[in-house]
Symmetry: C2
């Protein structure tokens, strides 16, 4: 088995938990998690005290664990890590996740201990994720080196690389609420060995990963990151949230995972040159992921907006134009078709303000089919009282807004379509149901527009590179 | 009654609905709304057909309506508006809300009609809100000239001035979901008479209005806006979302309410000079409102962060420093106090990364009391699985995070405190409950920080002006 094959991390044959224990914490939880998710027979708990935990045998030494084992999860106290690595190396295991904290992220003593761990791992030829991380998640086989909630295990197209363990773990708690489901997740921690580039390479080849999102505080190896991003983004979009934009922000993370963040301008240049899409903030990162996982890449940057409120159309237009999109008039043929069905008072332009015309479902296909439009944002802002009335009259929301999901399937497949619904929470939920999984629904015009602008930025890079 | 007393708009003695009708629409809904909210006896419906609607008499002419009436809500078709205004003027009513659309927002014919309406109103000495609006809401007496959902009628400290009718109406549908409750709302529409300055003046004197939020596409009178804002912001914060940042964004609204937006740089200068706080986008506007209505003004810009995740602290720091806040070390006395209770591995600095120490409730008061900290953001990012375990162990979230609401009451009253909870929706809800109404809870570190930065911007202006 070559050392750079990471499959043991994501699909291990047998797993050692060094530091399983009876008191609250990872050492108590992770064995339960693995047992409940079908990994009980392949999981071997190690604790010098021996005995049993959760009905599983506690081996006193790593050497006693039977074959096959190819992954070790280390949760022992920091100062016991070097010795544990010796046992692991001797046992012939090559892949290790060190979840223990108390290293370079704390103080000089921790830093020295981390150097010892690094030297030990190198001498033994181990690959190491961590320390100070929660390791990996693979939804395909429901394997995880940390306790993950059930909702996070629904397989999906997004894979996550997070430098911070908490960050990665927390994302898994609520991504499903935003309609995002993952394939793999990796938290890197202090990165004494495995870094973001290793994982980018792995995910590049991973057939179930379609979109990669990264939370980064600083590159482990800037030159390699440049080369790796450049290669990976040709195949898969890479969305990056990077902290440390300001010196103070850098300092905030410097000791956190023991890395000093680099200069922000350089990062911006690297991301721009390599086609990685940088998110402005946490919500933006998730908005981008939602759009990249559901929408095709646009052929151009011509942005068509239809809206039931002129104000929301104007807010979207401002953000679009400020972010490289073009809001230009609709094609004469579309204008003609819209005029044929539009009420007299309607001003037929882009954004198309449909007002209270209530034939949203007839306008949307016309905008989508416009040859001068490369991507579409449909904004619904209708007072809830009007919606209640529609329901009281025995009408369905679909009668007004159309069967959006099936409509989407008929539209040209190279045109992204996203929606914004501003209003009562129940109304947002109702429209989201009609929109289905193929149309992302946002709750502000600006966030939807920024997500599409990111999609275009990536699409343009792909076009430039293919020329 | 002097013409510039707007109390008839918000607390009318008697109301005429010109254009009450039996078919779906405002003319059908508004009478129901008024009747259901205790205004039935003071509401008089007018429709030339006569008869009854919702058990209320339909007067055939405005002249037939009995005394007292001091407000007319006009919902007749656009071309019937001038004639209706004549009837209203003759009847001695001085305050009118024209909700009818089909004026300058449509085409040249509509523009001409609007000019006629404007001339008629002026000749008759009428004050007019509209046309193309939904008028006013007053939660104190549950009066509204439009159909508003029940949840929006809970009285609160925010008043809204919106140039767009839909915009204002939609806000009322979901502000309560964000913990925001209103005193008054006014939608201005095409502004042939009453404009944002009139309403700013009114709200300036309104005892139940504490914070004013404005959605603006363009100023009706730039010079007056400057003067008015300068005066009002000395007493009450004014938060503004303005579209038309770009030429295309301006064009999007130009015909919408018949106004041409001004130059964005000038607006920025006006807002900066007058102490109005401009929101970057819709969510930012609401985040600002949530913070301004619950937090005191900070004395300075020194920002203290405590966080259970270093990554979130770094993201907050970046945004803070980019927006005029200072993230500097904690005072020696605070550092000493924190060290006394902190686990060994904790790196005591600002942001204070508490990690999984689980004594969040002990750290927060120390940061709040730090003499070198003017405002605090507390970030909770804890894996949901850990929270579930805490509950299984029979502990309450309060045991870990403290009784935040009562704790807040003990803290120095001049220090804003906001929270960010990143994670599972249920966890966000649970913490929000503990935080109560006095601590706003955000779901991203950046949005919380931006809200505090806005609070500081306003506070600094108030300090500058009082010198």
């Amino acid at each position: 088995m070559p050392v750079d094959n990471f499959s043991s991390y994501f699909n291990p044959q047998g797993i050692i938990i060094a530091g399983a224990r009876r008191s609250m914490g990872f050492g108590f939880d992770i064995p339960i998690f693995l047992k409940e998710h079908g990994w009980g027979e392949r999981t071997f708990l190690v604790n010098p005290s021996g005995g049993e935990l959760h009905g599983m045998k506690l081996y006193q030494r790593v050497a006693e664990v039977p074959d096959p084992v190819d992954l070790a999860i280390v949760i022992v106290p920091a100062n016991a890590v070097p010795g544990t690595l010796e046992e692991i190396g001797t046992r012939g295991i090559k892949h290790v996740i060190i979840e223990s904290a108390g290293f370079a992220e704390t103080d000089d003593k921790g830093k020295a201990l981390q150097e010892e761990v690094e030297a030990t791992a190198r001498r033994l030829g181990l690959r190491v994720i961590g320390p100070n991380c929660v390791g990996v998640v693979n939804t395909e086989n429901r394997f995880a080196s940390t306790d993950v909630i059930e909702e996070a295990l629904t397989p999906g197209p997004v894979s996550i690389i997070a430098q911070s363990g908490v960050f990665g773990n927390i994302l898994l708690d609520f991504l499903h609420e935003r309609g995002l489901f993952i394939s793999k997740a990796i938290t890197l921690g202090n990165r004494i060995d495995v870094n973001e580039c290793d994982m980018l390479d792995y995910l590049d080849d991973d057939p179930t990963t379609e979109v990669i999102i990264i939370y980064l505080e600083g590159a482990a190896d800037g030159r390699r990151l440049w080369k790796t991003l450049r290669r990976v983004t040709k195949k898969k979009p890479v969305l990056i949230l990077k902290s440390g934009k300001t010196p103070e922000g850098k300092q905030a993370t410097a000791s956190h995972t023991g890395s000093l963040s680099g200069e922000d301008d350089i990062y911006n240049a690297v991301f721009a040159q390599t086609g990685a899409v940088r998110a402005d903030h946490l919500d933006h990162l998730l908005d981008l992921a939602k759009t990249f996982t559901t929408q095709p890449l646009p052929k151009g940057n011509r942005f068509g907006i239809m809206t039931s409120s002129g104000s929301m159309g104007a807010l979207a237009t401002d953000i679009a134009v400020s972010n490289g999109l073009v809001v230009q008039p609709l094609s004469p043929s579309t204008v003609k078709q819209v005029r044929e069905i539009a009420p007299d008072w309607m001003n037929v332009k882009n954004p198309l303000d449909t007002g209270p015309s209530m034939i949203f479902n007839q306008f949307l296909p016309l905008i989508m089919n416009d040859p001068l439009v490369d991507m579409v944002l449909a904004i619904i802002a209708v007072p809830y009282s009007a919606m209640k009335l529609i329901k009281q009259l025995g009408m369905k929301l679909e009668d007004v807004f159309g069967d959006l999901e099936s409509m989407r399937a008929q539209f040209p497949q190279d045109k992204p379509l996203v929606m914004t619904v501003v209003g009562h929470g129940d109304f947002v939920d109702d429209i989201s149901k009609i929109a289905g999984k193929s149309i992302p629904v946002f709750t502000s015009p600006e966030s939807a527009t920024q997500a599409l602008a990111g999609l275009w930025r990536y699409s343009r890079m792909r076009q430039d590179n293919s020329c």
